[in-house]
C-alpha cells in the first residue's frame, strides 16, 4: 500500500491530531482566557472533518481503495457515516460547554483539546480493521473521557464519576485485551479479515472464549446490561455537557465497533455471538425501562434511557443481516439527535442563580412558565418513547422490521412489549411538566447557541424528520453493505 495514499485516507484524523496539538500549545501559552476561542477553533476543525468525510459516505466507498496502512485502518462508507454522527455530537459538546463551566469558574482551555482527542480516538475506533487499531482508538477515547468526567474538580460528584469510570473502564479494557489475546492466539492474526478467514468452519473453544471476553469488554463501553452499572452514576456525576457527550458520541463509536467486530471479524461465526447479543438486547431493554421508573433525577433518567436504547439498537445486530445493520445506523442517527436535544434541554433548566435544576419534581408545570422549553423536552421524551408521529418511532420501526424479516419474531415482540413499559417514565416526565402545579424553580435564561442546538434537534426528531428517511436509509444501506462484503 502506497504511503501517500494511506495518508490521504486518514486526512480527517491527521487534521484532528495536528490541530489538537496546535490548540494545546495555544492553551498552554495563552491560558484559560482563550478557552472560548479554542472551543470555536475545535468546532471549526470538527466541521472541516465532517466535510472531509462526507464524500466517502455519499459515494458508499468500499473495497481495497479505502484501506490504509496495510488494512489496519479503513476509511469506508460505514466508518464515514459513524464519523459524521460522532463529529456532530462532538461539535455539540463543544458548543454547550463554555456557558456551563463558566458558571462554576471552571472553563479551561484543555476541555476543547480533550474533546478533540476523544473524537480522534472514536474516529480511529470506527475505522478499525485490526485488533490493535481497535484498542488504540478505544483507549485514546476512554482516557480523554475519564478526565472529562472529572473535569469539574470542585464538585465531589464529578470526581467520584471520574474515579468510578476510570476504575471500571480499566477493568473492561483488561477484559477486552484478554479476549483479544485469546482471539489472536487461536487465529494467528490481528486483522479482522484474517480472523474471519481463520474462523471459517469449526470454532475452537479458545476462540469462543476470546469472542465472549471481547463482547463483555465492548458491552461495558456501550453500557449494555449486564455491564451497565456504572452508567447512571457516571452520567449523574459528570458535568452535564460531558454527559451529553458521553451519551451520544462514544455510544455511536462503541456500537459501530461492536458491529465491525461481530459482523466483520466474527461474521463467519454469527451463531456464536447471536445468543449473547440477544440476551444483552433483551436485558438492556427491560432493565433500562424498569430502572428508570424510580429515578427522580433527570440525568439518571436519561442514563437509563440510553441503556434502554442500546438494547433496541442491539436487536438490529441480533438480526445479523445487512438490513439489520442499516437499521442500527438509522437508529443511531436518530438517537444522537434525541440525546443531544434531551441534554441541551436539561442544561437549559436553571434556577434564578443560574444553578442547574436536575430533579424531575422541580420541572413541574414547566409548560406554564417556559412553554417553548417544555414543548421541546416533550418532543424529546415522546420521541425517546417511540410514539408514532415523532422520528424516534422510525428508528424502532426499522429495527423491529429487520428483526422480524430475519425470523426473530419473539425478540421483536419482547422489545415492543418492553418499550411500552419504557413509555411510562417518559410520559411521566411530560405529565409532570404539563399537568402538575408549577414548582416555579426554572427561571434562568440561556443563550442563543443552546436554543439553536435545541431547535435543530427538535426539528430533526419532529415529524419533519420523515422527509429525511429515504436519504438517511439510502446512506445507511450503502454503509451497512460494506460490512458484508467478505461474506
Amino acid at each position: 500500500m502506497d504511503f501517500a495514499a494511506s495518508l490521504k485516507l486518514i486526512a480527517p484524523e491527521l487534521l484532528m491530531s495536528v490541530s489538537g496539538l496546535v490548540l494545546l500549545l495555544v492553551s498552554a501559552w495563552v491560558g484559560d482566557k482563550a478557552s472560548r476561542a479554542i472551543s470555536v477553533a475545535a468546532a471549526v476543525v470538527l466541521g472541516a472533518c465532517f466535510f472531509l468525510v462526507a464524500p466517502a459516505v455519499c459515494s458508499g466507498a468500499s473495497g481495497p481503495d479505502t484501506l490504509a496502512f496495510g488494512g489496519q485502518f479503513s476509511a469506508d462508507a460505514f466508518a464515514g457515516l459513524a464519523k459524521l454522527m460522532i463529529f456532530a455530537a462532538g461539535g455539540a459538546a463543544l458548543v454547550i460547554a463554555p456557558a456551563f463551566f463558566e458558571r462554576f469558574n471552571a472553563m479551561r482551555a484543555e476541555y476543547p483539546v480533550l474533546i478533540l482527542f476523544a473524537v480522534l480516538g472514536m474516529s480511529i475506533m470506527v475505522s478499525a480493521r485490526d485488533l490493535i487499531t481497535l484498542y488504540i482508538g478505544l483507549e485514546l477515547n476512554s482516557l480523554a473521557a475519564y478526565v472529562l468526567a472529572a473535569f469539574l474538580r470542585t464538585d465531589d460528584r464529578s470526581a467520584e464519576a471520574g474515579l468510578k469510570y476510570f476504575v471500571l473502564g480499566a477493568l473492561a479494557s483488561g477484559i477486552l485485551l484478554f479476549g483479544m489475546s485469546l482471539t489472536y492466539g487461536f487465529t494467528g492474526t490481528t486483522s479482522f479479515e484474517g480472523i474471519r478467514v481463520a474462523l471459517n468452519g469449526e470454532m475452537a473453544m479458545g476462540a469462543l472464549f476470546g469472542l465472549i471476553f471481547m463482547l463483555a469488554g465492548l458491552a461495558f463501553k456501550i453500557s449494555a446490561v449486564p455491564f451497565h452499572m456504572w452508567t447512571p452514576d457516571v452520567y449523574e456525576g459528570a458535568p452535564t455537557p460531558v454527559t451529553a457527550f458521553f451519551a451520544s458520541a462514544p455510544k455511536v463509536a462503541a456500537l459501530a465497533l461492536t458491529m465491525r467486530v461481530t459482523l466483520e471479524a466474527f461474521g463467519a461465526q454469527d451463531d456464536a455471538w447471536r445468543q449473547i447479543v440477544i440476551f444483552a438486547a433483551i436485558a438492556s431493554i427491560v432493565i433500562g425501562a424498569l430502572g428508570a421508573i424510580g429515578q427522580s433525577n433527570l440525568k439518571r433518567l436519561l442514563a437509563y434511557s440510553s441503556i434502554n436504547n442500546v438494547g433496541f439498537i442491539l436487536i438490529g445486530l441480533a438480526a445479523g443481516t445487512p438490513a439489520g445493520a442499516s437499521a442500527m445506523l438509522v437508529y443511531l442517527a436518530i438517537y444522537v439527535a434525541m440525546t443531544v436535544g434531551g441534554f441541551v434541554a436539561v442544561l437549559m433548566l436553571k434556577d434564578e442563580n443560574g444553578n442547574s435544576v436536575e430533579a424531575i419534581a422541580d420541572i413541574a408545570g414547566l409548560s406554564r412558565t417556559r412553554p417553548a422549553l417544555a414543548f421541546c423536552l416533550m418532543l424529546v421524551m415522546f420521541s425517546l418513547a417511540g410514539i408514532p408521529p415523532l422520528f424516534g418511532f422510525w428508528g424502532k420501526f426499522v429495527v423491529f422490521q429487520a428483526a422480524v424479516n430475519a425470523g426473530f419474531v419473539a425478540l421483536a415482540a419482547i422489545g415492543i412489549a418492553a418499550s411500552v413499559i419504557g413509555a411510562f417514565y417518559y410520559i411521566k416526565v411530560v405529565k409532570v411538566m404539563y399537568f402538575d402545579e408549577p414548582a416555579d424553580v426554572v427561571k434562568g435564561e440561556s443563550d442563543w447557541a443552546h436554543w439553536a442546538l435545541l431547535a435543530i434537534s427538535a426539528l430533526a426528531i419532529s415529524p419533519l424528520g420523515y422527509l429525511l428517511t429515504p436519504w438517511l436509509g439510502n446512506l445507511a444501506d450503502k454503509a451497512a453493505a460494506v460490512l458484508f462484503l467478505g461474506v
Partner: protein, 205 residues
C-alpha cells in the same frame, strides 16, 4: 558450557533475590533486592536471545517501576511491620492459593503437551527479519507497518499527561517565583539607600 553456567547463575540469583524481597525487614531493602531480581531476569532474557525484552526490563522496570516503588516506600508513612502481621494466621490461605496456581500450571502445561490446544498459525506479516537482531526487527515493524498505531499510541500518552495536569494543577495565588530578568535589571541604587542616622536614634526606613 558457559551458557549453562550463566543460566544457573542468573536463575539462582533471581530466585534468591526474589526470596529476599519478601523476607527483608526493611522495605527499602526489599525494593533494592527487587532491582537485583530484575537485572538477573534481564540476564536470563539475553541468554534466550530476547535482548529487546532484556532492555525493556532494565529500562522500564528498573528505571521507572522500581524507582516509583522506592518513592512510595520512602514518601508514604506505611507501617510495614503491621502489614506483615498475621503471617501465621493467613498462611493456610496463602498455601491454598499457591497450590491452586501450581495445579493450574500443571494442567495448562499438560493440556499443551497433550496437543489438545490448536493455536492459530501466524500469518507471517510480523515475521522477524532474517539475520537481524530482534531489536532491528521490532524497529522495522514499528516504523513501517505499525507506524500509524505507534504514532497514535504517542497521542494516548499525551492525553494521559494532559489529564494528569488538568486534574491536579492549581494556580496558586501569592507565590513569589524567581524572575531572573527582574533580578538582573535591578541596579544597586534601587536596592540600597545611604542614610545618616542621628546619634542615639535608630534607622528610619
Amino acid at each position: 558450557m558457559i551458557q549453562v553456567l550463566a543460566f544457573y547463575l542468573f536463575a539462582a540469583l533471581t530466585i534468591a533475590s526474589a526470596t529476599l524481597v519478601i523476607m527483608a525487614r526493611n522495605p527499602v531493602h526489599s525494593v533494592l533486592w527487587l532491582i537485583v531480581a530484575f537485572f538477573n531476569a534481564a540476564g536470563l532474557m539475553v541468554l534466550v536471545g530476547a535482548e529487546f525484552i532484556a532492555m525493556l526490563l532494565v529500562i522500564v522496570y528498573v528505571g521507572a517501576v522500581a524507582v516509583l516503588f522506592l518513592f512510595v516506600v520512602m514518601m508514604l508513612d506505611i507501617d510495614f511491620a503491621e502489614l506483615r502481621a498475621g503471617f501465621v494466621k493467613n498462611f493456610p490461605l496463602g498455601m491454598l492459593i499457591a497450590v491452586v496456581l501450581a495445579a493450574e500450571l500443571v494442567l495448562g502445561i499438560g493440556a499443551y503437551r497433550a496437543g489438545s490446544l490448536e493455536l492459530g498459525t501466524p500469518d507471517g506479516s510480523a515475521a522477524p527479519l532474517l539475520g537481524k537482531s530482534n531489536i532491528e526487527s521490532i524497529g522495522a515493524l514499528l516504523y513501517t507497518k505499525y507506524l500509524f498505531l505507534f504514532e497514535s499510541a504517542g497521542i494516548i500518552l499525551l492525553v494521559a499527561m494532559i489529564g494528569a495536569i488538568v486534574l491536579t494543577h492549581r494556580e496558586r495565588k501569592g507565590t513569589r517565583p524567581q524572575i531572573i530578568s527582574k533580578q538582573v535589571r535591578r541596579r544597586p541604587e534601587d536596592a540600597t539607600v545611604n542614610v545618616k542616622p542621628e546619634v542615639g536614634q535608630g534607622v528610619q526606613l
